[in-house]
Amino acid sequence: MKFSILVNEGPFTHQCSDSAYQFTKAALEKGHEIFRVFFYYDGVNNANKLAEPPTDDRNLTANWSALAEEHGVDLVVCVAAALRRGLKDDILASGFRISGLGQLIEAGIQADRLVTFGD
């Protein structure tokens, strides 16, 4: 089955990004396809490679990048939400790309299920 995931919060204030990551990982382990993970609202902060969480804590940005690397997961950051928050291509972690909100609608159309994680 094809899943799309919408992530609406950043990786530090709310558990939403953790939940989205754990869901995505579990879906891949079960052999499902992840059509796209779309980051909106403060969720775009998941893509900031300049963030340096303490080394004894998880690093969600790195975890997302690893999913993109290992499973080819398409990680898309909303351009409008990203510009507002100062997130641009030069600080984008590997595996992420910036694109329009149309990519979210396409994710909703193309996937069998869209699962939203937010606050």
């Binding site: 909100l101 159309i109 937010g118």
Partner: protein, 140 residues
């Protein structure tokens, strides 16, 4: 959304023509008040894009979400942008299915006269039935 450079124009799917052949029931469920948090504003931007993709779009206002369409909003005094007029523009994007929870409206002492757009008021049973038939539910 047209008076600044924050929201890009709707971007159609790049090359897959088949996408236009699929029409899904997209439902945006708004349960948060405007201004206190950014959710109402950025949710509205998502609604406009879905309409540009010719999807069957419904917008639901329930719980504190009913405050999003209160008339006479003047956030300028608090230094914020007034995006409430954009709700009126939804019709121009063929987003005409706007629903309000009857219970949420009444609990807050509001009537349809308080709203800046025409809405259909649904009681809990009718709203449940509407939500049940939606294929893509986007909440914030």
């Amino acid at each position: 959304m047209s008076d600044n450079n924050e929201a890009p124009p709707p971007i159609p799917p790049d090359d897959d023509e088949d996408e236009f052949g699929v029409i899904k029931k997209f439902c945006y469920v708004n349960r948060k008040a405007p201004y206190g948090t950014v959710y109402a504003l950025e949710s509205l931007e998502m609604v406009l894009i879905a309409a540009a993709f010719d999807q069957d779009v419904s917008v639901v206002f329930m719980d504190d979400g009913v405050y999003q369409i209160k008339s006479d909003q003047a956030p300028e005094a608090a230094g914020m942008k007034n995006f409430s007029k954009t709700y009126r523009a939804l019709e121009g994007y063929d987003v005409e299915k706007l629903y309000v929870s009857k219970e949420s409206m009444e609990e807050r002492g509001l009537t349809t006269d308080d709203f800046l757009v025409d809405v259909e008021v649904l009681d809990a049973a009718a709203l449940s039935a509407l939500l049940a038939e939606q294929e893509v539910v986007i909440t914030s």
